[in-house]
């Protein structure tokens, strides 16, 4: 019986212990998108080396899950691979959470094929639309249907899972309507599944973030993208995305910072300033496979944070605009 009494006492003590939780320590809480995770992780790692007394935690709830917590005031920073939606804006507003929208890097969505594919080295946006639009379901099943010079071979498609920001952005950029595409393709939230799929099928075509292509460049081939028939074919690369040449598939990725947290917790402001500092931001972002923002944009967003300007410049995914264009958008809260 002694053991049970002891365990009971322990449990009771446990409950009382949990209530005076770890509020005394300086902790910066970030959560959200798995796409932005590697960037925030790298920042957190270096930031903690520079500031050993501040702790940073990064969660992995997905963009939507991250915003849910953020708008309840549970986190200080929300990682997002797409801009905040109208519904999320409303939730934040109702809870009185004011947010500062900060693009932190670019991701170049990459269309990839099997390395033995010698016909599709470049494709136009219109051709990609032919493949991916909802009307193509069950009909466009052969490469020849995409362009008459393509061989008579079956077309096998792989793409990001439909709950991901990657899927939302790709459909907005290619099909023209967010979250709308054919349904008969292999969808996976895990990009490594897509890598395996395309690397193992000579007739496959797929898309995902640049980092996954660069790590598997020996197994895959990237398709150069032409904005229209007259435009030059642009290769997906850090440089082309950074200079804004790679369109329409480069997209900004964001962190949303709670204004209240930034003002009440000095460690949050310090972390965001570290995040935006071009001195290490550029190197760290490149290291984890993403595209750093152009200098001018970095500076402008630093200013936005310094002034604590709240609101979003987006209504849904915006396609084909350069980061400089984003800066001119009026912020709405």
């Amino acid at each position: 019986m002694k053991t049970i009494t002891m365990a009971g006492t322990l449990a009771l003590l446990a409950v009382s212990g949990a209530f005076h939780a770890a509020s005394a320590q300086a902790v910066v809480q970030a959560d959200g998108s798995s796409t932005v995770f590697p960037v925030t992780e790298a920042m957190a790692e270096e930031f903690q080396k520079a500031n050993p007394n501040i702790k940073v935690t990064v969660g992995l709830s997905g963009t939507g899950g991250g915003f849910k917590k953020f708008c309840r005031g549970e986190t200080d920073i929300s990682n997002a691979s797409r801009p905040i939606t109208a519904a999320e804006q409303k939730a934040c507003k109702e809870a009185g959470v004011e947010y500062i929208e900060l693009p932190v890097a670019l991701d170049a969505l990459t269309v990839i094929v099997h390395p033995s594919n010698d016909w599709a080295s470049e494709m136009t946006v219109a051709e990609l639309k032919t493949i991916w639009q909802p009307e193509a379901q069950g009909k466009i099943t052969n490469w020849k249907q995409v362009r008459s010079s393509f061989p008579d071979k079956p077309l096998v498609l792989y793409g990001a899972g439909v709950d991901s920001g990657t899927y939302d952005y790709f459909t907005a950029a290619i099909v023209g309507k967010e979250h709308s595409s054919r349904g008969d393709f292999t969808a996976s939230e895990d990009d490594n599944v897509l890598v395996q799929g395309v690397a193992g099928d000579p007739n496959a075509l797929g898309f995902f973030g640049l980092a996954y292509f660069e790590e598997n460049a020996d197994k895959l081939k990237a398709v150069k993208i032409k904005l229209n028939d007259a435009a030059p074919a642009i290769e997906p690369s850090v440089e082309n995305a950074r200079t804004g040449k790679y369109q329409p598939l480069s997209r900004p990725i964001f962190i949303y910072v709670s204004k209240k947290a930034a003002e009440a917790k000095p460690e949050v402001a310090k972390f965001v300033e570290f995040y935006q500092d071009p001195k290490h931001a550029v190197e760290l972002i490149k290291e984890v496979g993403y595209v750093p923002l152009p200098e001018a944009a970095l500076k402008a967003f630093q200013e936005r944070f310094a002034k604590r300007e709240i609101g979003t410049g987006f209504t849904g995914s915006k396609v084909g605009v350069s980061v400089e264009d984003l800066l001119k958008e009026k912020l709405v809260y």
Partner: protein, 306 residues
């Protein structure tokens, strides 16, 4: 069908032996298939991950560079969550099992409770995660802490422990109770002095089966919002000042090994995939160690009883 009356006795015996053999063969092949799957898994993990496991891997925090990354925060988190889970689920589960078996009147309500407890053991773990998210985190505002994770997993394995306790208690011969009563022991003395010690091996098995399940759970922990990158440890439970132990660690944010694995598997760099395999290997080893500990303890207890 052959008419059994036309067969000689020898033939009937032979036919029975044949079907016996067939069944044994079937059982053996099913067993070896399961073992083969497990073995493949372990060997695959070993090929990928064994070379990665070293002192640094166990004592480093996660990092953006696969080769610098380690699982210190993950295994410490897993261990602490398990301690909370055990401290909550074992006493509660044993008490509930004992009550249902020894004290509760046999009526409709008891039956209903018993059926429900058994059913609860089969509820998918994500449901417990959602319950914990709604109740502990959103309603009570307890936050994403080690304590809440332990509490959630305790709920998850409570039915397993209750069922195991009841089975163990039920298997004790009625004569033991009668003998105790005959010697003048009251109910509590009987339960505390005879029933519980005799049921201990069975209870222990149930507890370990439950704990082994809890340590590998990902879904409920992700649902309540465990973190993925965390480069510090919870405050130490043992301090230099009086009273030398503290419970601050219960309120600390945390990560656990299955989540660290989940994150690494989805990363683009191949180095992270190796890390994930190594983490899986360590998780597997921890589970086996727990099971081995249970078997050893049970053996010791059985010996002590005789």
């Amino acid at each position: 069908m052959t008419d059994i009356s036309q067969l000689s006795e020898a033939e009937i015996i032979r036919s029975a032996r044949r079907s016996e053999k067939r069944f044994a063969l079937l059982g053996l092949s099913v067993l070896s298939l399961t073992m083969l799957v497990l073995l493949t898994l372990i060997i695959d993990f070993m090929v990928d991950g064994l070379g990665r496991i070293d002192y640094d891997f166990l004592t480093s925090f996660p990092s953006r560079r696969p080769n610098d990354a380690g699982i210190l925060s993950a295994w410490v988190g897993s261990a602490l969550v398990m301690i909370v889970t055990a401290a909550l689920a074992v006493p509660l589960g044993v008490a509930a099992g004992l009550y249902l078996e020894e004290y509760a009147p046999k009526n409709l309500i008891t039956n209903l409770i018993e059926i429900n407890v058994t059913n609860l053991a089969g509820v998918p773990s994500i449901i417990y995660g959602l319950l914990a998210l709604g109740l502990f985190i959103q309603m009570f505002g307890l936050g994403q802490t080690i304590f809440v994770a332990g509490l959630t997993l305790a709920l998850l394995i409570l039915p397993i422990i209750i069922v195991a306790t009841r089975e163990a208690v039920r298997s004790i011969p009625q004569e033991v109770r009668e003998a105790a009563f005959a010697l003048g022991a009251d109910k509590w003395q009987t339960v505390g002095g005879y029933i519980l010690p005799a049921a201990r091996p069975g209870i222990l098995t149930g507890a370990i089966v439950g704990m082994s399940r809890a340590i590998g759970e990902t879904a409920p922990i992700i649902t309540i919002g465990a973190l993925t990158f965390i480069a510090f440890l919870p405050p130490s439970p043992v301090g230099p000042e009086f009273p030398f132990i503290n419970f601050d660690w219960l309120g600390s944010p945390f990560t656990v090994m299955p989540i660290q694995m989940f994150n690494w598997v989805s990363r683009p760099q191949a180095g992270f995939h190796v890390n994930a395999a190594a983490t899986g290997l360590i998780l597997l080893a921890m589970t086996l160690l727990m099971n081995a500990g249970a078997i050893w303890l049970r053996y010791k207890l059985r010996r002590a009883m005789r």
